[in-house]
């Protein structure tokens, strides 16, 4: 039963990676094509899509969130990390546990509060690019931070387990 569950989690994890990776490729490709066609249209045909600039900025927000989620899966968020390298093995694990739970908590808080923001925007029926509901595009913020919180929670639990088991330096 436990193994079966672990199998499902591993499969979900792989699926998540695939979704994130493909989204990054699709988002970047759309940005390159849309931004260049805007330039061509504007300079040579004196026209362009009215919605394109707004859509480009939304694509950027999505790229930022998907990229940040992808950065958190291999613990590749930008950090300073000067003190922990001088700590001996077990203390290092303890520090990592602390830092990872802290990051999970902060991300969780942002996810919850930005969810409330998105909810408000939905109630007030905010619109983007003419007549598209804004909350659809904004929901990437709470979803992204929830995902980051989940990843750091899992990292934190793994580090805590190492502290309890008294194992050496974490990867």
């Amino acid at each position: 039963m436990v193994e079966q569950q672990a199998g499902i989690i591993a499969r979900l994890d792989r699926l998540g990676r695939l979704v994130e990776n493909s989204m990054l490729v699709v988002l970047l490709t759309s940005m390159i094509l849309l931004a260049s066609s805007q330039i061509i249209l504007r300079n040579f045909f004196d026209s362009g899509f009215v919605w394109a600039d707004e859509l480009l900025r939304i694509l950027l927000l999505w790229t930022a969130m998907f990229g940040a989620v992808a950065a958190s899966r291999e613990n590749r968020q930008i950090a300073i990390d000067v003190l922990s390298r001088f700590l001996p093995g077990r203390w290092k694990n303890l520090a990592m546990t602390l830092v990872q739970f802290f990051t999970a908590a902060v991300s969780g808080l942002i996810a919850w509060h930005s969810y409330r923001f998105v909810n408000d925007s939905r109630m007030f029926e905010d619109l983007l690019m003419g007549d598209w509901p804004a909350w659809v595009f904004q929901s990437v913020i709470p979803l992204g931070f929830a995902m980051i919180a989940y990843r750091y929670l899992v990292f934190g639990l793994a580090s805590a387990w190492k502290v309890i088991r008294g194992k050496g330096v974490a990867a």
Partner: protein, 287 residues
């Protein structure tokens, strides 16, 4: 308040991601002034309200793509043809190549990876000291930082609300000073190291430029376009990304279509890491 700040600094030094530290301090600030924390969502959504930010993923991707092609090698060859005859010439080559490469890849940090691997062994072979080589390659990797279209300058301009065009203009003089000083230092340190200074040849200059004929126009278009006011920065980024994509994948074929998704992902992971920090920083500015 002071205790919270100290605690956050400690967490940062222990390796907590910067976005979490800045977000925590922003939320702490909002909570203390009774601002509803749903403002975090509004602030982060602000990423979609700054048009110039589009330049960041586009330049970063172009830089990653270029560094996977043969462009770094061709750039070193051109610098070699132009500067190789000087005493301490190889050090000058490194400086020139790094400054140029950093500038037109937007100073996203790919220079050290792309050029370091080429220049470091060459410097070592030419008999430069190990400590000098390491110092040169790492410091030269940030030389283009003050020239357009440097991403760190764009980020600074967005957060500090300073005109980015002025930043680019203001960067020219100090940036040039850095290059000149490092060049003078390399020249001085290696004044006795005159191991066969190569001869200058117009033919080699011509050949090396011809070999890089697809890349040579790029910095001229990008830098000239931005400084000359022809392009907005994000337009220059779009042109660069599309141009590099076409020459590297379709014309020169040094990067295959198969490699493209990996390069895109890697560059966008970096972009996500930077932009999430920017998003929460905009919140902390207002808290």
């Amino acid at each position: 308040m002071i205790i919270v700040s100290l605690l956050l600094v400690l967490l940062a030094l222990l390796g907590a991601p910067l976005f979490a530290i800045i977000a925590a301090s922003a939320m702490w600030g909002f909570a203390n002034t009774d601002v509803d924390l749903s403002v975090m969502g509004i602030e982060i959504f602000g990423l979609a309200e700054v048009p110039i930010l589009l330049a960041i993923p586009l330049f970063t991707f172009a830089g990653y793509l270029i560094s996977e092609s043969g462009a770094p090698r061709r750039l070193v060859r051109i610098s070699n043809a132009l500067l190789g005859w000087l005493p301490g010439g190889l050090a000058m080559i490194s400086l020139a190549a790094c400054a140029l490469f950093t500038a037109f890849t937007g100073a996203s940090g790919v220079t050290i990876i792309a050029l370091g691997a080429l220049l470091y062994p060459a410097l070592k072979e030419a008999g430069y000291k190990e400590s000098f080589n390491l110092g040169l390659v790492t410091s030269a990797g940030s030389l283009g930082l003050l020239f357009a279209p440097s991403l760190p300058l764009i980020l600074y301009g967005v957060v500090a609300e300073v005109s980015i065009d002025s930043l680019f203009l203001g960067g020219i003089l100090p940036g040039t000073l850095m290059v000149v000083m490092l060049a003078a230092y390399s020249f001085w340190v290696n004044r006795h190291n005159r191991a066969e200074p190569g001869k200058f040849s117009w033919k080699e200059v011509r050949d090396s430029l011809w070999e890089a004929k697809w890349e040579v126009p790029l910095p001229i278009v990008v830098l000239g376009g931005i400084y000359g006011g022809v392009f907005a920065v994000s337009e220059a980024a779009a042109v660069t990304a599309l141009y590099v994509l076409i020459i590297d994948v379709l014309i020169m074929r040094e990067v295959s279509l198969k490699q493209l998704p990996r390069i895109m992902q890697e560059s966008m992971v970096l972009v996500g890491g930077i932009l999430i920090i920017l998003g929460v920083s905009m919140a902390s500015m207002d808290s």
